[in-house]
């Protein structure tokens, strides 16, 4: 087994709360209606192709990518389009959504629904990227960057390292962990497919140490796939951050303002890689994903295969409902996820988890004076000095923000997590970044 690697600067060790590590992925079933947003990615919203009253099947294209930085959106159910209108998403913003009433469970004929694993990849690089594009795949780790753009080597660049990100460093979430345990071979095949698209021969699957079962299974399977290796990483947050992961695996730091490809790396989340396998080999568009429903106020936590567009409330009901302990609902992890304002909002391609947190866990203490402990600077994985950024913002010395390197902040929240005086340091950093953008 390889030596455990990690990034050198900062980082924290929050409580793991991985109570769903041993819960197999279960089918969440079909809700009565689904609402599918046309923008579940970074870039332009997709152009809507259907109209009210249309009959759709599972996998029917609902909206077409508008340009390169955009992604197709498919139906996750069979039924009738009820309405197309602007509605409140999970974190309160209005988005265009297509509402479909579920009728039956009919699939598009092109989708291969057999459980058979196909090990041949008879396609060229261009064909693979075409399939990924047609399936509407985006980065499922949370960023939502359209995957076909990342799967192709840009003009004038050289890629020599493909990293599959199996790090799930956010507390509570176990969706990627279960996927690696249950769909290990598909993920390895997905990595080989990406290898072919990028024109390289090897891939590294990075998994954090607290997933011994996933590491064991992947190690066994990668023995038969030359070029794919498993690399255990230390259990530390934010180990799953793209730049932190590259630093841990290759020792190279992505220069400030540059992309991973500038140091010859491409990083893809395991969920994305699984979706790529299904798209390329099984012709299956991205219409469902694995989601952890958990939290200390969740009665029956678990991992679920969920159709995109399923209301959050449907999953909450399925796991025990909004009991009196629930003080806060989070989409994603507790470190970087967003608080839910509307529990009837849908699950999207980027939803990795739904967390029901108790008052005890989500309680935020009253802010007090900075005691100059310096812990915010110590835990920052970028080496910033959040206390300084806060002072510059509160004194409105915005001309000094660039020298404080605010633009390099990855918004991981280690500073605000650690601050013993409970100062919302990340808020100041985010404000400072906006301030810098305004100046440009």
């Amino acid at each position: 087994m390889n030596k455990v690697k990690t990034f050198s600067m900062g980082g924290i060790h929050p409580n793991k709360y991985k109570m769903t590590s041993a819960s197999p992925i279960m089918d969440a079933g079909l809700p009565e209606i689904v609402t599918i947003p046309v923008k579940q990615h970074i870039g332009a919203p997709a152009k809507i192709l259907v109209k009210k009253g249309d009959k759709v099947k599972i996998g029917t294209l609902l909206a077409d990518a508008d340009g390169i930085i955009s992604a197709d959106v498919h139906s996750s159910v069979s039924g009738e389009v009820l309405k197309i209108e602007s509605a409140e998403g999970g974190n309160g913003y209005l988005e265009d959504m297509i509402t479909i009433r579920v009728e039956g469970n009919e699939y598009e004929e092109t989708i291969d629904r057999t459980g058979q694993i196909s090990r041949d990849i008879p396609l060229t690089a261009a064909e693979i990227i075409g399939k990924i594009r047609e399936a509407g795949i985006v980065g499922m780790g949370g960023a939502g960057f359209p995957t076909p753009v990342k799967a192709a080597v840009p003009e004038g660049k050289k890629v020599d390292c493909l990293i599959i990100n199996g790090i799930e460093c956010e507390p509570f979430l176990t969706a990627d962990e279960r996927l690696m345990i249950e769909k290990a071979e598909q993920i390895v095949l997905g990595a080989k497919i990406l290898n072919k698209a990028l024109g390289i021969q090897n891939a590294i699957i990075a998994v954090d140490e607290n997933k011994p079962k996933a590491i064991e299974i992947l190690n066994k399977i990668t023995k038969t796939y030359i070029g794919v290796n498993v690399q255990p990483c230390a259990t530390k947050y934010p180990q799953g951050g793209e730049k932190q992961l590259i630093a841990a695996i290759t020792g190279h730091e992505v220069p400030s303002g540059k992309l991973p490809v500038d140091v010859g790396c491409v990083v893809q989340n395991v969920g994305t890689v699984f979706a790529i396998y299904e798209a390329v080999i099984k012709n299956k568009p991205l219409y469902e994903r694995v989601i952890t429903v958990s939290g200390d106020a969740c009665a029956h936590p678990g991992n679920f295969l969920v159709r995109i567009g399923t209301p959050i409330s449907y999953l909450i009901e399925k796991t025990g409902g909004l009991n009196k302990n629930v003080a806060q609902v989070i989409l994603g992890g507790p470190m970087m996820g967003s608080a839910v304002t509307n529990i009837h909002a849908p699950v999207t391609k980027l939803t990795s988890g739904i967390l029901l947190l108790s008052e005890k866990l989500s309680h935020k203490e009253q802010e007090t004076d900075c005691i100059r402990c310096g812990k915010c600077a110590l835990v920052c994985p970028v080496g910033l000095e959040p206390f300084l950024i806060r002072r510059l913002m509160s004194e409105y010395q915005t001309d000094k923000l660039r020298a404080a390197h605010v633009q390099d902040c990855i918004e991981c929240g280690c500073c605000a997590y650690t601050c013993p005086a409970r100062i919302p340091l990340l808020d100041y950093c985010k404000l400072a970044k906006l301030e810098l953008k305004k100046k440009k």
């Binding site: 992505v254 400030s256 919302p424």
Partner: protein, 324 residues
């Protein structure tokens, strides 16, 4: 109703009060050593100092600022303990009140309270007493292990005092200088909290284990003193420069572990802390060997406290993705 918040949605359990509580726990072995060697007098010094520090902070909040009582954060207790640790067991208790007033009212609350003070409050209190009452502050009772009610009748010079007034190049008669074992355990004269290296080390280990401080300041401070005196010792062979004695005597360990590491008055970045600790070490050696006083830790730390804003302004760590 569901709560809305910005990220991160949960936080570490460790808040300011918890940190202060950990520091107090780390300071307890030294209190135990003080009572074991100086008996009930040491206990009285500690209790007077802590009580008056907490009272002064409460009084300032209540009657002067008319604001929320800040003693809940427990930092006044730490100041009280550290002030007591920097006093001889024979000090008249009334003087402690004056020291506590200087520490809390002048050095801490006048600057704006916890985190805003420039100088270490306990050290300001100590130096104020040292300059105002030089006789009482340099009157060193000899330890009387486990003899709790003994009168502090026997006095003598501290190790540093002995070294300071020795003729260059001479070797003192057997039994004048305390043995290394006594110095390590604390069976020597001195301020009540600084005598036992063992107790202070236990406290340091606790602080490091709990992640309250990093190892940088203690290591670089003590290391600098060790190396500088060690070089002089190797060059001259003069026992006045004995590096082990310089580390084990006086307030070096207390200062390096608990006072130079004070959050409010030390630099924010690791690089700044290293620079600050090395400078503290150099100043300590210079004052001890070439200054008028045998002891230099308090002055060294206070002088470097004044440089902390400057260090914070100019010394920064490397940023990820920028040139090494």
């Amino acid at each position: 109703m569901l709560k809305i918040s910005t990220t991160p949605h949960f936080q570490t359990q460790v808040n300011t009060r918890q940190i202060m509580l950990d520091v107090i726990i780390a300071l307890l072995p030294a209190a135990l050593a003080a009572v074991l060697f100086f008996g009930v007098n040491a206990l009285l010094v500690i209790l007077t100092s802590v009580a008056s520090c907490v009272f002064f902070e409460y009084a300032v909040c209540r009657w002067w600022l008319k604001s929320a009582n800040t003693t809940h954060d427990l930092s006044a207790i730490i100041t009280g303990l550290l002030l007591a640790y920097n006093l001889p067991s024979s000090i008249p208790l009334g003087m402690i009140l004056a020291g506590a007033f200087m520490a809390i009212v002048v050095a801490k609350m006048c600057y704006g309270g916890l985190g805003k003070n420039i100088f270490n409050p306990a050290l300001v209190g100590r130096v104020f007493l040292f300059i105002s009452f030089p006789v009482q502050m340099t009157h060193w009772p000899q330890p009387h292990f486990l003899n709790f009610f003994a009168v502090d009748a026997q006095t003598g010079a501290t190790t540093l005092g002995l070294l300071k007034h020795m003729e260059p190049g001479t070797t003192p008669p057997e039994g004048i200088l305390p043995s290394y074992e006594d110095m390590f355990i604390g069976n020597i004269g001195g301020c009540i909290g600084e005598i036992s290296a063992l107790a202070l080390l236990l406290g340091l280990i606790y602080l490091l284990w709990r992640g309250i401080i990093t190892w940088h300041i203690p290591f670089y401070y003590v290391g600098t003193v060790f190396i500088l005196t060690g070089i002089l010792y190797l060059l001259t062979g003069d026992i006045r420069y004995d590096p082990l004695r310089h580390i084990l005597s006086g307030g070096l360990l207390l200062g390096a572990f608990f006072m130079a590491t004070d959050y409010a008055t030390s630099p924010m970045t690791v690089r700044g802390q290293v620079l600050y600790a090395i400078a503290c070490g150099i100043l300590t050696v210079v004052i001890r060997l070439y200054g008028a006083y045998p002891e230099g830790v308090s002055f060294a730390i206070l002088i470097m406290n004044a440089f902390v804003p400057l260090i914070d302004k100019y010394v920064h760590g490397r940023i990820f993705g920028h040139r090494r």
